[in-house]
């Protein structure tokens, strides 16, 4: 999955105030770009590097526990994204 496709999926899961939502998406975008550049620097092609960055980041449902459905990963931190 490309970085853009991942962000679109995550955006669909975040039901937050627009400003907060945009800030979180920007933060995740920065992370994925850093990760992709790290892989590119080690010799990967752009598309493959994006795939790898997204895979290492993990399932968007678990990254955005409070935007939609409850996550079992971080019980107690629900509301973290608010």
């Amino acid at each position: 999955m490309s970085i853009e496709a991942y962000l679109a999926q995550l955006a669909g899961l975040l039901t937050l105030a627009p400003a907060t939502r945009a800030e979180i998406l920007q933060e995740v975008r920065d992370h994925l770009e850093d990760a992709a550049h790290h892989y590119i620097a080690s010799g990967m092609a752009r598309a493959q590097a994006e795939e790898q960055a997204v895979a290492t980041f993990g399932d968007p449902v678990e990254v955005a526990p409070c935007g939609s459905m409850p996550s079992t990963r971080f019980n107690g931190t629900c509301g973290a994204l608010l």
Binding site: E33, D34, G58, E62, C66, S71, F74
Partner: protein, 137 residues
């Protein structure tokens, strides 16, 4: 064989739980060392634990946001110009987090809890806490 598989599965679950429980402490400590952003935290976790403590990177964000919400860390945006390894990314805007005094107090408390916990486990295990000792079957 089935029981053996169950044991392996149980052991993997156990390791996951331990990792999850320690992530909060580790992130607090890494922020104590220096203000940091998500990717940097993940890289330091990977490097120092040589991959043993690698989490899905996304897992640090709910944690960082919770630290901020609870007043243990404060987040701020910074734009920096990269050199070297990340040179392809000329200027990157990153959300940094730094520990607040409340965060440093939380780290001290978490370290005490951690050491009390590992000491207690060590005392119970006694001599059998030697690497290579067989687990239960």
């Amino acid at each position: 064989l089935y029981l053996r598989l169950c044991y392996i599965e149980e052991s993997e679950r156990h390791v996951r739980e331990l990792k999850k429980g320690s992530l909060n402490l580790l992130v607090l400590h890494l922020l104590y060392e220096r203000p940091s952003y998500g990717w940097d935290i993940c890289e330091r976790l990977r490097e120092r634990s040589q991959g043993t403590l690698s989490f899905e990177d996304g897992a640090v964000y709910p944690l960082l946001h919770a630290l901020e919400r609870d007043g243990l860390a404060e987040g701020y945006w910074e734009t920096e110009t990269d050199e070297g390894e990340n040179a392809a990314r000329k200027s990157a805007r990153r959300r940094y987090y730094r520990l607040t005094p409340k965060g440093r107090a939380a780290l001290r408390a978490a370290l005490q809890d951690w050491s009390a916990f590992t000491n207690a486990v060590g005392r119970v295990l006694g001599d059998s806490a030697i690497a290579g000792e067989e687990g239960p079957h």
